[in-house]
């Protein structure tokens, strides 16, 4: 984000500098991946008929189309696309991508899907086509097909963390928390220092439930607190995970009928249970301390002290 801000500040300086040509500014916007459709259209439209090198002209025309689509100027995009087609022909991959984008903007998703499917039949590793296809299917609420498409993408691009986040979201919506946890396990491999990921993963394991999952959950919350001591979300999560563990234990022990206590015959290891109690106390203590002096401190103390009883 910081580099984008710096790039935008430099863009402002470039715009004020009258010695810089519009082409230079457009190239700067393209190279730094800035989102400035209004500026692109203002500087680019006059260049459509300019005497530029073919590769430069095609780059400018492509930028104009994308900017026009952002500004919902579909007719302008269509005219510019016709100009590109005259130069490159209809079989050019870049032309087909732009055509598909224009069709998407016009709401003709079937036609655009057709183009992306053609691209995929030529090359099933076409990342761009897979992503656009997924975006269309998801926007059309075709969840099953979207998930299959995303699956195909992830089979070839297993290190794409944002794609795993998308898959996790899809799993969440369907109530498939185990699937979502699997996705977040993949994400945590690439971002082991990300507290948000550990927190979400911990919350997922608590949501799924079960003794082993509560143990996994508390590990992730503990890791989150190790990385960021003031993470309140992790503190709440830790209290929730430890409470759930202890409730499950109490429930199972009382339903076993004989009042069998924890011991070497029980699946509830005494040392582990003591550790869980300590972790819960740690979470409670730190939450109460964090909320001290705020307008919610009384409420937090109330709910946490009730949970201790």
């Amino acid at each position: 984000m910081a580099s984008t801000t710096i790039a935008k500040m430099d863009l402002d300086a470039l715009l004020k500098d009258s010695s810089k040509s519009p082409l230079t500014i457009l190239e700067y916007i393209h190279d730094h991946k800035l989102h400035e459709p209004a500026i692109v259209l203002k500087l680019g439209i006059p260049l459509r008929k300019a005497n530029l090198a073919p590769s430069q002209l095609l780059s400018v025309l492509e930028q104009i189309i994308i900017a026009a689509l952002h500004q919902k100027k579909i007719e302008l995009a269509s005219e510019t696309l016709t100009q590109i087609k005259a130069s490159t022909g209809a079989n050019s991959l870049r032309y087909r991508k732009l055509l598909a984008l224009c069709l998407e903007s016009a709401g003709d998703f079937e036609a655009s899907l057709g183009i992306y499917n053609d691209m995929l039949s030529d090359n099933k590793s076409n990342v761009y086509a897979l992503k656009r296809k997924y975006a269309i299917l998801r926007s059309q609420l075709k969840d099953l097909e979207a998930r299959e498409c995303l699956n195909d993408y992830l089979e070839q691009n297993a290190s794409d963390a944002p794609a795993w986040v998308e898959m996790a979201k899809s799993c969440f919506e369907q109530g498939d928390y185990k699937g979502a946890a699997f996705c977040y396990e993949e994400i945590v491999l690439s971002s082991p220092m990300d507290t948000g990921v550990h927190c979400t993963l911990g919350e997922l394991y608590v949501t799924i439930g079960g003794k082993d999952n509560y143990v996994l959950a508390r590990k992730h919350f503990a890791q989150c607190l190790e990385l960021e001591k003031g993470c309140i979300r992790a503190m709440f999560g830790l209290v929730s995970a430890t409470e759930s563990y202890l409730d499950l234990m109490e429930c199972q022990l009382s339903s076993s009928g004989s009042g069998k206590k924890r011991g070497k015959d029980s699946c509830w290891d005494e040392q582990d249970v003591e550790l869980v109690r300590d972790l819960k106390a740690y979470g409670v203590e730190h939450l109460i301390k964090s909320y001290k002096g705020t307008n919610m401190s009384g409420l937090v103390e109330t709910i946490l002290s009730n949970s201790e009883n």
Partner: protein
């Protein structure tokens, strides 16, 4: 069993503003209200029951997980209990009566399984507390098409295009889950609670004010529990990030 639902304008405004502030993600929150008007003794729930939604407490702007929902519900319940103690005039019947939600995608009208599970837990909590009757919680789903029309001020006095629809927890929710295609039955949501504000409180007038608040630049901000958690320890002291009250919403009615 059919309930009559009435919405207080502040609860309505909070839901719409929560959706506006988090327009690109799903949102979830708690509905607080009463199943019996203030001052009346509790009656067994029957066909003429009125469920009044008095407040909306925003919880999160992402998919709700058990720890967040659990802590949100507990804090809300503690807040209601605290209000009963400090305010002798408040209704002793205010309780958590349901959930509100909005899906991430335009045109997505589904109520996802996790929402029904949350409603079931609210129901079992109240059924345990009030053993003489079965409480039927509700869910208010903010509908993208209706919300868009509300922003265009096309809501009429009957509440068409007010921005959301209300559903009761169906008796056979588990069977419906497995069927895939669910037909959730919308519950008619009647006019806003008549109160001190007087006869001008109808859906058309109130939704117009709420639309103005949503379209202000910047809009009236409504905070949720997740905002407080994201603010971390340093953000806890921000008095305006009071997701339990969001009292800044009341300024809408002063205009």
């Amino acid at each position: 069993m059919t309930q009559t639902i009435q919405f207080d304008k502040t609860a309505y405004a909070k839901m719409m503003l929560h959706a506006t502030v988090n327009s690109t993600t799903a949102i979830h929150g708690i509905l607080v209200g009463s199943s019996n008007p203030k001052g009346q003794e509790q009656q067994p729930q029957g066909n003429d029951d009125v469920l009044i939604v008095l407040d909306a407490i925003p919880i999160c702007h992402s998919i709700p997980t058990k720890p967040i929902v659990d802590m949100g519900l507990r804090l809300t319940q503690a807040h209601l209990d605290h209000n009963k103690i400090i305010d002798n005039n408040s209704s002793s019947h205010d309780k958590i009566i349901g959930w509100y939600t909005a899906n991430e995608r335009t045109g997505d009208t589904k109520i996802y399984p996790m929402v029904w599970k949350i409603l079931e837990s609210i129901q079992s909590f109240h059924t345990d507390q009030e053993k003489t009757k079965t409480f039927i919680p509700i869910v208010a789903r903010i509908d993208s098409e209706s919300f868009e029309k509300m922003l265009e001020k096309k809501c009429n006095v009957d509440g068409d295009f007010k921005g959301f629809h209300v559903y009761e927890l169906p008796k056979t929710v588990l069977a419906q889950d497995k069927n895939g295609e669910e037909e959730e039955e919308k519950v008619k949501c009647e006019c806003l609670q008549e109160g001190a504000a007087g006869a001008s409180d109808n859906w058309k007038n109130v939704s117009a004010l709420v639309a103005d608040a949503c379209l202000e630049d910047p809009p009236v901000v409504v905070y949720d529990f997740e905002n407080q958690l994201e603010g971390k320890v340093s953000g806890l002291n921000k008095m305006d990030c009071d997701w339990l009250r969001n009292s800044q919403v009341n300024k809408i009615w002063e205009k």
